[in-house]
Symmetry: D2
Subunit: 159 residues, 4 copies
């Protein structure tokens, strides 16, 4: 199929589809360069910052994340927040441990229609075996569109 | 950029990347044909069934959904479950109403490494203004990898 | 103060208060006899049954559990469900382990005004270090008034 | 039964039981005086403060709130937090509306063995039909023992 793609398929894409493919290909590039550590964060063009306390992630809200109502899919909102929380948990975890989500609770408080959103994660409880982290996401205009808390387990890293 | 893509970029993709692009392009096709109603469900190759009570969605677990630990990203698991719940809610809702997620709680009970997962949604409470729905996801081997409950609001459909 | 109580205080109680005191004193009795294992379950007159799979608890809905709106307090509903879940978790746990709630999520789906409610608990996931349990509560009329899921950690029992 | 109680029953109570009865009777007093608006908050000797932003509730941790492991029952922790959240919601709500809990999620982060705990509630999202509120509870020593978020519906007040 990829040959077909290469020669004619892409020409037939509509504008949304072209933008998605472009975003995905740029994501591949950022994954190869190590800026993204997964295809998920790469494809959604997530970029993160950590100020020592709060970890934040930005991502553009384009048709790639829309649900059938034309707003950001609640699952992708969860993905942005869970990614921010997971990155924070792994930054805080001892070097021989990895943190994995054991539970995640989200409240959706406003729809997201576009622009660049920013997801935040901040520690609530730091135990020896688990952590509780709060996270939230804000629109361009600074409106909180979702608020979450999550539990993370610490597991031994694979050698 | 798309011209560059068309002529040479795709040849340089590695095997995972080619598979992702192929899955995305097939998703575009299924969205055009109306089989998928959003790019999110299209790109993740979600297919749904409804037996009148339980709505289920299948999706392949490929690198497109991996987190940095090489297992299915918790946010994408949430996306599959939320999609199943949301589709069920909208099937049950009165014809002039749309159902949107107001709250989602997930327990992750096992990692998912591959194969085809199936997410399920089933009604717990059906009120006039809101619904509570339970959802879960199972691996190929029938193991429950996550269990969730969600609250859905009914809003007026845009005319 | 107890002497005052003994001699005159109780005569001045109104009907609701007398009923509460009576329920509390009966609870003390059931705790002494080992039917209740805590003052909480004793005072709320909880009685449990276990059929090998589902653990259920009954309790009367009297003014002792009302909130300021005259319906069963959401926290006491949580107490009934958490107690059923915790009892189930401890029945299932290895004999040298105790199970404690690490997380609890509740959806309230109908108000409870009286009668005898029954709270249920059923296992969703049984891991070596933790469990996920679902619980719900039904009114006399069989209406589901709340639905919950909880996570339980297994800790070493004190010797 | 109350006559029996009055004359001899109370003399036979053990120390814990006497303290519980005393706490309950004091609670009745505070409910009559309108300091407590329900038997639940009265019996647990809850006292609240509101600084215009955060509503907090104190309560003593005595055997009346213990679970069978001798620590504060998770359901009673939920009751303290839900009460603080509900009081806050009702302070903020329009005067013709009452706020009722529709969903509550709690993370338990440390056991509580005694002293006076303080539960807090703070608004996260204030919508026209619902609110999201965060709550937490701290031990005497200032340790966060639980963290929660809840959703509240606004319903018309009974006239």
């Amino acid at each position: 199929m990829m040959d077909t793609v290469n020669q004619m398929y892409i020409e037939q894409l509509n504008e949304d589809e072209k933008n998605i493919i472009e975003q995905v290909l740029k994501g591949f590039e950022s994954k190869r360069q190590g800026t993204s550590t997964s295809y998920v964060s790469a494809m959604y063009a997530m970029e993160h910052e950590f100020d020592g306390e709060t970890l934040s992630i930005t991502m553009p809200v384009t048709p790639i994340v829309y649900n059938s109502l034309g707003m950001m899919h609640g699952g992708i909102t969860a993905t942005a927040i869970d990614t921010a929380m997971g990155m924070l948990a792994n930054k805080i975890a001892p070097s021989n441990k990895a943190a994995v989500t054991s539970q995640l609770n989200l409240h959706y408080t406003a729809p997201i229609y576009g622009g660049i959103v920013r997801a935040y994660a901040k520690i609530i409880h730091h135990g020896s075996k688990s952590m509780v982290i709060e996270g939230w996401i804000e629109t361009d205009a600074g409106k909180r569109a979702a608020h979450a808390t999550g539990s993370f387990y610490l597991i031994d890293k694979k050698q």
